[in-house]
Structure formats: C-alpha cells, structure tokens
Amino acid sequence: YPAKPEKKKPRDEECAVYIVQSNSKFLISKRPDTGLLAGLWEFPSLELESLETTYEGRSAKASDFLHERYDLDITKNKVTKRQDLGNVVHLFSHIRKVYHVEWVQVSEESVVEDEDQVKWVTMDELKKSPIPTGLKKALALLEKSQNQKKSTTKSNPSANKKQKVIKNTADIKSFFVSTNKS
C-alpha cells in the first residue's frame, strides 16, 4: 500500500464470523492478551483479505479455519445446519469493520475445551462474558434470525430472551477517538 495519508477516513476491514452451535451451546475463544479488544471473548473469527467476498467463499474457508484453529472438523457430516445471517458493521476509531456472520450447527461439542482459551457456553453465559460490541451485534443477528424461526416453527429452544438492560446498546468507544495515554 503506497498510501498518502490524508485526513484519515476510517479504513475498511472485513471479517468472517462463525457462530458454531451445538445443542444450546456456542463455541467462543479468547482474543490474545494484547492488541485490539485484548482478552475479550469472541466467536471464531477470520480476518478477510478481500473486501469482496461471497457467502460461498467464506463458507468454504470455514472448514479449514475451524479445523486448524479449533480442531473442529465440519467436513465430516457433523454439521446439521448452516445459514448466512448477513452482516453487521461496527465503527472503530480508524476502522470500519464489516462482520459477515454465518451460523453453523454441529452435532457434538468436539473441540477439546481449554477453559482459558476456548469453551462452549450457553447463551446466558455468553451474554455475561466480556465480548466485543461488534460481536454483540453479530449475536443480535443470530437472535433475530432465531426469533423469526421461533415464531414460525417454534423449533429452536436456544433463542432465549433474558434481556440484558444494555443489550442492543452500542459501545460508547465506537463514537469517540481513542488516544492511548501512557
């Protein structure tokens, strides 16, 4: 990138988010202890190099990514359902980030749990975890999707509704410019 910095426009980034569900539990992993959103929990997420990806493309990437990173083999017939949930946008101070969210239902919690880095949690636990706002939006997408289904098919028990007061509220940081002090 040969850039000529001007008054910065936030740069665009895209990211594939895989919400992996087994029964009523969700797979989450912890971000590194340093860096952006350090130490927060997130759904398995893969930074994308291109800004123009398709659902099929991202979906295909999922197999390798989940297998390598989480030892979760979704090529074998463990996947019972998967669905494109669309995307959410989150503004960081210098980044405009698009999260493409896919929901993947698997038949068993085959990942070796390492409580410190990777775990399966219920929706309730999830909502209590310190997860980044952007991924809260992804979660909202899932809930919305499941609630829709729920009202028609009543098939999905995991779309629970314990509403946290702060649900659906944006991260205040996303509105301001972070200027790290030392």
Binding site: Q163, T169, A170, I172, K173, S174, V177
Partner: protein, 259 residues
C-alpha cells in the same frame, strides 16, 4: 506536587457520589488548569467526564501533569468522614503513593487527615469531538431525576423524543405504557423549572434507563441539567458547576428495536 484547597467539602463529596456508581477505579488527571477525570463504565455504555477548574480552589498549585489512580469506593468512604462545611485540602507528592486529604472544621479545632493509597491504572483516554447537536434541552435537574426514576417502573428502556413543542420520555413494558412530556417554556414563574429547547431538527432516540437514573446522582450539583442529542450519537447529559467545572455523562444510544 498537588495542593488544592476547597472551602466546602460538600462539593467534592457530591461529585464523588455522582461518579462512583459508574466507575470504581480511575485516574484523576491533575495539572495547572485543574483536576479532571474521564472514565467509561464497565459495560462500555456510558462515559463520564468531570472537570474542576483550578479557579474553584484557593489556593491551587500543581506544577506538572499528575495522574492520581484512585479507588473511588475507598475515596468515597473517606469523603464521608468530612462534614459538608469542612474546609478540604487534597495533596499529593510527585512520586508519592498516597493522596492526602485534610478536613478542617470551620473553627479549626478539629483536624482530620486521611492518606489514601494510590494505584497504577492504565486508562484509555477518549477524544471527544465537538459536536453540534440537533437538540439541546435545558431543564430542571430535579424534574429530570423524577422522570427517569418514575419511568423505570415501566421498563428498562426509554425513548426520548424532542420537538419544538417539548421533550417526551416514553416507554412500554409488561404492565402497560408510560410517558412524561415537558412543554417548552422559557417564561415561567419558577425559573429553575423552565424547559428550554434549542432545536435544529427533531430527534428520537432510545436509551437504557438505568444509566440515566445513575446520572441523576449528580442532581445536588446543579438545579439545571442539559440534554444534548443528535440521532445515532451518544446523548450528552451535563451538570454545570457554576464557573468551576462540570460533570458530563455520555450515553450510547440503543440500536435496533428498543424493546
């Protein structure tokens, strides 16, 4: 080093009450212009910014930037040991590890001294851009408190709508609906009760009501409060301390359906 003397402990006591519900630990940033503080609540939904100008103290002395990391719960406990009309002095050495507080009774025959241990706090400072808000409403701080406290019985959320005619707080919950409307009125008997609206454009936004209730801990600081709003931008709730400074709260709006 810092040395700052306040004629009435009450001001700092009330300020602390206004901040400690949102934030438990944070840095007081001291420099020659005064003492300030900025901190987010744990959920990253609200931000509080406070400023006490050096003019408010007499004397005030602070040679260079000095961040004082303080546990607000502990500080609050100590400030409760000051009577409202005690003279209060805060002191800190440049490389010290305590914040000293001295409370003197008016007749100065009772002197209380407390040393509060300081902490190292890594804090992120957010740059808050100057915003021209679509609507700025100035109203009685007591009324604001009444309204948000009342509507809390109906639901966790509240929608604030502002038009030329007035400002309306409304919500809906299991037992039914509620709304409170204040009519714009710059002329009124009791000036403190006036509701003054400066409007570029109507706005309607939803917020988590418990944060608003929380902000009203600052009510004793000022008879008036201003709400500044633009769609999709945090609400600014400001309590001015005459010419001495302010407490400002920013609250992120709710997105999607405000159920």
């Amino acid at each position: 080093m810092l040395e700052a003397r306040l004629q009435q402990a009450k001001l700092l006591k009330t300020l602390l009450e206004a901040v400690k519900e949102l934030v438990t630990e944070c840095n007081f940033d001291c420099n020659d212009s005064g003492i300030s503080l900025q901190a987010m609540d744990n959920s990253h939904v609200a931000l509080v910014a406070m400023l006490l100008r050096s003019d408010g103290f007499d004397p005030y002395r602070c040679d260079r930037n000095l961040p004082l990391g303080v546990n607000l719960t502990s500080l609050n406990k100590i400030l409760k040991c000051a009577r409202n009309d005690d003279i209060l002095t805060v002191k800190a050495d440049d490389n010290g590890d305590v914040l000293s507080l001295v409370f003197e009774s008016k007749d100065s025959d009772k002197i209380s001294e407390y040393d509060l241990k300081l902490m190292d706090i890594d804090s992120e400072h957010l740059g808050i851009p100057d915003t021209t808000y679509d609507a700025v409403v100035t109203l009685s701080s007591d009324r604001f408190k009444e309204i948000v406290t009342d509507l809390q019985v109906i639901s966790d959320a509240v929608t604030i709508e502002c038009t030329k005619e007035g400002i309306k707080f409304g919500n809906e919950g299991e037992m039914g609906k509620g709304s409170v409307t204040l009519k714009a009125n710059s002329m009124i008997d009791n000036e403190d009760d006036a509701t003054v609206i400066e409007l570029q454009q109507s706005v309607s936004m939803a917020f988590s009501i418990k944060y608003l209730v929380n902000f009203t801990k600052a009510t004793p600081l000022s008879t008036r409060v201003s709400l500044s709003m633009s769609n999709d931008v945090p609400l600014l709730v400001e309590y001015k301390l005459d010419n001495l400074g302010y407490v400002r709260y920013y609250l992120a709006p709710k997105i999607g359906d405000e159920n």
